[in-house]
């Protein structure tokens, strides 16, 4: 066990965990931030996507001792009132079915739009190809990203 100091959603937090603990489980088990989801544990499904200094990152394979002073943003901290343009677009397009993968989808999309304000269909496909949705909401996700990019 070791003490770590992290900046998550603009707040400083301290946790005492095994240094190999992935950020996913630090968030979910120790900080009660459960919007970041467990899907595969091997960075293949994207359900656990967070931002590390603004870049999309799979938190399930990111050990806490590799974070250093990089800032973490989770779905809970993406906006102050759930009013990020993507969150609004997600509701406008009524994207979710089961909803489980959607916070990871939104975090991947938010990282894309930060870098590319007007992504093409191909840009979206490339950025989102690491996020699986078994319900099959891909066409709505793409439409919502385009709406948010407007």
């Amino acid at each position: 066990m070791a003490k770590f100091s992290l900046t998550i959603n603009k707040k400083n937090v301290e946790v005492d965990v095994d240094p190999s603990t992935p950020i996913l489980w630090v968030l979910r088990d120790h900080l009660n931030l459960v919007g970041t989801k467990y899907g595969c544990g091997i960075a293949q499904c994207g359900a656990c996507t967070i931002h590390l200094d603004g870049n999309a990152m799979r938190s399930c394979i990111l050990p806490i001792d590799k974070v250093g002073n990089q800032k973490i943003t989770t779905i809970e901290g993406l906006s102050n009132h759930g009013d990020h343009p993507l969150q609004k677009a997600w509701i406008e397009h009524d994207v979710p079915q089961c909803g489980y993968c959607q916070s990871g989808q939104i975090m991947s999309a938010a990282a894309l739009l930060k870098e590319n304000k007007t992504p093409s269909d191909e840009d979206i496909d490339i950025a989102m190809n690491g996020n699986i949705c078994r319900c099959g909401t891909y066409t709505r996700i793409k439409a919502a990203i385009k709406t948010a990019a407007k």
């Binding site: 992935p22 009660n32 467990y38 544990g41 089961c98 489980y100 916070s103 949705c133 099959g136 066409t139």
Partner: protein
Amino acid sequence: MALIKTSVNRRSFLKSSALAGGGLMLGFSWLASCKPVTEEEILTLPEEWFAINSYLKIGDNGVVTIFSPNPEFGQNVKTSMPMIVAEELDIDWKKVIVEQAVYSQEKFPGGAFGQFSGGSQGIRTKWQPLRMAGATAKQMLKEAAAQTWNVPSEEITTENGVLTHEASGNTAGYGEMASAAVQIPVPEEVKLKEAEEFTIIGHSKNNVDGKQIVTGKPMFGIDYQKEGMLIAMAVHPPAFGMTLETINNADAIKSMSGIVDVFPVKIYKETYKRGYFDTNSFPEMVVVVGQSTWQVMQAKKEVEASWKPITPSTQTVNQFGRDVIVHTPAELENTETHNSQIDELMAKPMKEARRDGDPDTAFKNAAKVIERTYSAPYLAHNCMEPMNAFAHVEGDQVWLAGPLQAPGVIEPTISDRLDIPIENIEFEMTRMGGGFGRRAYSHYMVEAAIISQKVNAPVKLVYTREDDMTNGIYRPTYKAIFRAALDENNALTAIHIKAGGVPESPLFANRFPAGSVDNYLAEEFAIDSNISTGAFRAPRSNFMAGAEQSFLDEVAEEMGKDPIEFRLDLLKRAEENPVGESNDYDAKRYAKVLKLVRDKSEWATSNPSISRGVSAYFCHNSYAAHVLDMTMEEGRPVVQKVTCAIDCGIVVNPDAATNMAEGGIVDGIGNAFFGEMTFKDGVPQKNNFHQYRMIRMSEAPKEISVHFVDNGIDPTGLGEPPFPPIFGAVANAMYKATGERQYNQPFLKNSKILG
């Protein structure tokens, strides 16, 4: 207006009185999702609630809480079901708070299936009770107003939560009459609206949980937290056909950081007679319990256990009151062996399921016989939320929470195993991160309860993705041979279907094309197995639809007919002069979806750069047809567009229904292209998404256009129906695009894995 007797269902409308309201926790933040999010509006909560019946309570300020009875796994019942209640209640949707109902057979009658999500049954079976709940409450409010105002109740009208008596000039909000309404006897009969009067049903409403989902609020079973809660994980046998002998390093595991206990768990008593949904190949496993998920995950990897082969068994399973004998062989099974077993039985005489006319003579006299063989592998569900369950057993009280489709079928299992009466077991049905049939088999709830009882603490059992994929209730593997006889005029004279699988036959002998051809023979067989299988978005249908619709495409081509016209010809025959008497489809509704998809896809307009495939199927009481447009890019099929036509009766929430149809199409394309689980010596050969290929965004159709038949009949089901026929549409479009027919799923078997 239709008068509906309430007597049958009066048990469900518990006589109720005022409820204290101030302290109730109410999730009303969803309201933001019902309107433009910039205009968030928080409802003022009432001082007092009045419970009118199991489905709703009315606040003294006119706010209404509607309890959605069935568990939600993405099919939208948590929004659609309350819409139906609100419609008959005549309440403004903006004044409605939706809550997930608790599980209660008393409140929601229907035996084990009163609160069941699966088989496209939710809206279909709850349509009438939901309407009656709203209409009964409305009638009681009218009676209360009539007594207060001393006027005849039939002169009172309702609109948007307001009662009006025009002649006397009296008006009152529902909230004002709620306390009087609970004193009114439940009416003997109620008036239901005509479809033309609907103002909520048929008008799209946003997902009531939308805002919570996009902001990452805790709502899934895996998010469940409780003070003092421990985390548990299971180590199941490494292969189907194996079971636990002993744990070899329990002390070493217990000494690991954060680990509380490690022990073997038996899921059933020796004497227990399993029910139909107690499917479970690993009734003995090792459990590790500890403080945090990561610690338990690490310890789980270190568990050393000895496993032994199971002994072959014969069990009597209670299939909803009917005894069914299930044989479980002991071998370590292989996909290759399955395939050779299937081929061996396919060549032998098998069980005849239906015979019309004289198929033997028709085939003997045929000018041409077309014979094609279709196969499909096992499929894993891969719900994005892995199986999990929260349990807290304290003395003889059991609290359970988690994702499950069928609380009613697992309650008796838990009661028997823990020796705790059913009335002491409570379920909280959390939102499910997907279900697709998998969570009808909730052995993980039993496991969690046993673990909690053993460690005497609240416990959350979490399956890793590997556990989830290798302890599956898979879609079975199937094979079918379709034969068609054509006479010298190239007319279809007979169809012969032989179908089998492990461990069940996929055949539906009375479905189309039965009834449309004079000479018809359908035969089947099944092979026993110890690999657990079950519901998977219409498991048999999703194989047979692909096979049958590919075959009909090939027959049409051989006959020189347009594939849609050929199907319509057969359906015309089935409608006007059906062969046999037990055909289980409505040929007219079937033809209607084909005609609708033909028109909406502009089938007659050919574009040489687009390859098109058509497919239609009937299952779970509804009809669906697709036209799939494909191009080839760098040697890979790209789905440009899918046009879809569905007849599922009245559509409650059109945009959500469209979403589910889109999802069924995407999911079906993914499974047709990539879905496959294989076994070697009982070991599932894929355990995570680096091996099990799922469809990804770049492979989804670029456009999906969904159209519903507007026929005003009561809803007939939507979760399954759009899924099976897409397999055929993919195969038929791929033939047009590549010149090669697709007979064996998955169609892109050797495609590279995208990460």
